[in-house]
Symmetry: C2
Subunit: 235 residues, 2 copies
DNA sequence: TGTTCTCCGTCAACACCGCTGACATAATCT
DNA sequence: AGATTATGTCAGCGGTGTTGACGGAGAACA
């Protein structure tokens, strides 16, 4: 039944639902993102989405082939939002740092979508724009092409990897997320000094540090290492 | 009904199932891993697991409180396999590199399971052993505790993030994986020079580099940056 | 050996999920 | 005004995780 989806630009008849709502792909995407944001990861189901829209759940399938299709659309939206309003400053390090943090937080704002979409290569316009921007920063900074590509690869995959990892933590059902966090206090903080001396010695640091994302620090490490590889004549 | 789970060491009565199988937590974990490996992540349902075991699906709940509980056990098993047989050499950089690559490849050996498990904190024995080992390497090398903990955090999450990312690529259905790869050749290699000059200039490098995992290079960058932060008196 | 106790595998059922084919009707076109 | 058809609605399929009740098999003790 995939053929019932009509591409958005060709839509002509917009029949209101019983509850008087006029649907559109954009409205569905916005509603879905709001649903995830307000009611947690597990709220994004077709039935609840239908209820939130004020329409029969199956109406969603007039706009997206499947929930996966909807999630890819959400992902494209997220990439767009991450890049939205960004302009290069000319300082390659600050620029890369800003892009990385933008990607990370854009995905984290919608963990459920991020989880399912972070590892896809879409080739759509928002993605290619981001790739072009990052490569541009690196090549303009003076990295030779082979090095620029390797750093680009490491940078992007690190950003997406951390985004997916941290999104996964947020996307967990509340109970599981609680459990994950409490492991550090209830388990790691109480390990025996003789069997786990290094954990015992740093337990207080671990329990506070593991509450935050490791991404900003990891990003700084990557930028440090990249800076050290920048050819001397480019500095 | 969480109380019906009896810890493995206290189990005394092992009644065979109707099909004559004697259950155990270990058997269930092995079967689950095999199931995921052979039939993909979506095959890991309680009902299919029961069928694969030769037991009623609900019997699984006598060994694990929930599917999430089972997943954590799977995650710990993978960590254990990654650490299996590893011994520190005394060279902190080589040791960390070895551990990172081991984690990465252990997860990639079971991509579908890795996808589900990479982002969980288990607090179980194999995990604590790995944490202890990594912290030991860093502290023995001479990193002060706060720095050791931050580097530990970045190192572990980077390894797991890349593992999940690369596992996701391997776990895709063959058709989708082909499509993802072809995006680089069919889409990025053909972008206009005027709209995407940087991509166009490096397309040949991109198409070959994006075929590999970016993890080894990203790991080297992280180790470079860590080495630069090692206190002078410790070198 | 016989009895009791209780562990644990089985069963049926609940509430939810994604998704589909058939249907009805309102919005557009001729 | 009438025909067409896009699209919202409905009922329902086959799946999911999970649970409470039940009963038979193993162990423990006499």
């Amino acid at each position: 039944m995939s053929e019932r989806v009509v591409p958005e630009p060709q839509r002509r008849r917009r029949r209101p639902t019983k509850q008087g709502v006029v649907l559109s792909a954009e409205l569905i995407i916005d509603t879905a993102l709001r649903l995830v944001e307000q009611h947690g990861a597990e709220a994004l189901t077709v039935r609840r989405l239908g209820a939130a829209l004020g329409a029969d759940p199956s109406a969603v399938y007039r706009y997206f082939h499947s929930t996966d299709d909807l999630l890819l659309a959400l992902a494209d939206e997220l990439i767009g939002r991450a890049q939205d309003g960004w302009r290069p400053t000319g300082d390659w390090r600050a620029d890369l740092r800003a892009i990385g943090l933008r990607i990370h937080s854009a995905y984290l704002a919608h963990p459920q979508a991020a989880l399912l979409a972070a590892h896809r290569t879409t080739g759509r316009s928002h993605e290619t724009a981001a790739v072009e921007a990052i490569l541009g920063v690196l090549r303009t900074a003076g990295f030779p092409d082979p090095e620029a590509v390797r750093i680009y690869h490491a940078f992007v995959d690190q950003s997406l990897g951390f985004a997916a990892l941290d999104a996964a933590a947020l996307a967990l059902p509340a109970a599981a997320a609680d459990a994950d966090l409490r492991v550090w206090q209830a388990c790691y903080a109480r390990l025996d000094t003789t069997t786990h001396p290094h954990i015992a010695a740093t337990a207080h640091l671990l329990t506070t540090d593991m509450r935050r994302s490791g991404y900003p620090y990891a990003l700084d490490l990557l930028l440090d290492a990249a800076a050290a590889r920048l050819p001397a004549e480019a500095r």
